[in-house]
Amino acid sequence: MAFARFFASRLLQAVPVLLGVTLVVFVLIHLVPGDPAQTALGARATPDAVDALHSQWGLDQPLHEQYLLFMERLLGGDLGTSLRFGQSAGDLIAARLPVTLWLIAYAAVLACLFAVPLALWAASRPAALRDRVVRVISVVGLGVPGFWLGLVLIEVVSVNWLLLPAAGVEPGLLGHLESLFLPSLTIAAGMTPLIVRSLRTEVLRVTESDFVTTARAKGLTPHQIRMRHLLRNALAPSVTVLTVNVSFLIGGTLVIERVFGLGGLGDLMLTGIDARDFPLVQAVTLVLAVLVVIVNILGDLAQALIDPRVEVQ
């Protein structure tokens, strides 16, 4: 099938990207000025301890040997050991990853739920009042800093109205939906305007196209034309906007995670950087990069599902 072939080719294309990522992450540790082991252990570390870390990390070997060693470890599923926690970095990440994924997916879904109707509504009467209202909402949404909006939401919804939990994650599907609503909403508020803007522009462009005239000539209702002909053809560029946004979000949720006390991947990354925990930072960076690659593959697949012409290119 054409679609399966398309999927396979996208996966193949990801291989060199992933190799590049491992290379960058590997080099990362050597970009730190001075001796990484010394930096990691601090100024007061004994020379013996520094030496031990050297050989543990393989820093006494030639560079290409080190990379091969690093790759061998990775392919064996070993993401290294955190200095700060004395625990496998993989385990630490596995414990934090779900919250972050939840947060990103939840925010993306909310953003789409807001953006699609808003964009269709605004585009249905360009330059009319509704169009301007949506534009003002968008500018406000873009302008408000996430941490501030998060704090206001906590203050109003959780503290004053006692509606939703202010911090932490509750177990279970419903618990997740409830406790992650405010942080996801905060993130979605920043994403929605960008999607609205691209979708509105596209809907207006597609409205002018010949096949919409064909659809009108068939005697379809405006609603049928919107849902069957306008939306799908206007969606592709917005999927790109969404993909780029989600890619930015990966590793970019740390502020929101801190504000809402969620302890996700972003939080773990901050902890790692604070503690100069090189193996942990390396591992988290690697996982984030892989996530970005996956999101982009998903974005491409979504494009192919929306527009049959994509497979052909």
Binding site: D210, K218, G219, H229, R309
Partner: protein, 331 residues
């Protein structure tokens, strides 16, 4: 002869205006068509052919509005109809075929569904009946293996096949009037002939009427029973195809014919029409063609009228007897 009341389509003195400009782009066009008849609208680019056609289906582009005149399709007053009546008209009575088969189809929807959807717009077919009808229509417009082709997307088809899909869509609601806007302009010569044959078959088999916009008199001669020649937003001459092309009664028709290459006239014999069509918004007292007309006289600048001159013909040229006297025109 059918009286005007029995016409499937009648357009009288149609005026179309762009935005809030003070001058009309279509300035009193009149036209009629009966069932089983192909009526051509010919004329240079910008003469208002497409806008007139779109006005008939109530599908004017945003910014263009009817400023006067009447359009009646199958006893429906199109100019004064509300959105619901217009939708019904489009689903039931009128089908439209566009110039660009590459852009007239939704690129993300299977062609079969695009036809079935049009068949369902009438409201009297179930989903599966509409599907069956779409397959029948694909076969009717010349698709081999219609059931398999149902699932194809537009980009998998050639221009000629896409135009057949557009025609199938236009036929889906069982219309009595088909509006075609230069349906073959984007196609090469052999495909053009096939599409023209298909349309002629449809007129014969289904008894529908067709309004066929073209700037190609060769194409018009092949398919049209009658031709209306438009110049600067007006119909300047109208009549049965053969008589009109052999013995034009308007200098503009004559000029158009002289600009068409034929077997016994090579490129050197071609004569471009001198001058340019009027600018949009230009004041046009009297005959709009006067500045370019070799027969013009001072009176032409003051008044002209579109009048019947017998044998089912009409012209807007006050000097038509002179043209009639010139032995045989261009034939």
């Amino acid at each position: 002869m059918t009286g005007p009341a029995e016409h499937l389509l009648s357009v009288r003195g149609l005026r179309l205006r762009v935005g809030d400009e003070t001058h009309d782009v279509v300035r009193g066009a009149s036209l009629h068509a009966a069932r089983g008849e192909v009526v051509g609208i010919a004329g240079e680019s910008g003469s208002g052919k497409s806008l007139t056609l779109r006005a008939i289906a109530g599908l004017l582009p945003t910014g263009v509005a009817v400023a006067g005149g009447d359009i009646e399709v199958d006893r429906v007053d199109v100019v004064r109809a509300g959105p619901q009546v217009l939708r019904r008209l489009r689903g039931h009575t009128v089908g439209m075929v566009f110039q660009e088969p590459m852009t007239a189809l939704n690129p993300t929807m299977r062609i079969g569904r695009q036809i079935a959807e049009a068949a369902m717009a009438r409201g009297d077919l179930s989903r599966s009946q509409a599907r069956t009808r779409a397959v029948e229509l694909l076969e009717r417009v010349g698709f081999p293996e219609p059931a398999r082709r149902y699932r194809q997307f537009p980009h998998q088809l050639s221009g000629g096949m896409r135009q057949r899909v557009v025609i199938a869509i236009a036929l889906a609601g069982n219309p009595s009037l088909l509006l075609c806007d230069e349906p073959t302009t984007a196609l090469d010569a052999t495909v053009t002939l096939k599409i023209l044959d298909l349309l002629a078959d449809l007129v014969r088999d289904l008894g529908i009427g067709i309004v066929f916009v073209t700037h190609d008199l060769g194409v018009a001669a092949r398919i049209c029973d009658r031709i209306a020649v438009m110049y600067a937003g007006q119909v300047v001459e109208e009549g049965p195809t053969e008589q009109l092309l052999r013995r034009p009664r308007h200098p503009y028709t004559l000029a158009l014919l002289r600009a068409v290459p034929t077997r016994d006239r090579d490129i050197d014999g071609l004569r471009a029409i001198p001058g340019n069509p009027p600018q949009r918004g230009e004041e046009l007292p009297g005959c709009a063609f006067a500045p370019r007309c070799e027969y013009a006289e001072p009176e032409c600048r003051s008044e002209v009228e579109f009048v019947p001159i017998g044998a089912g013909r009409s012209t807007a040229c006050r000097r038509h007897p002179l043209l009639a006297a010139m032995a045989g025109g261009t034939s």
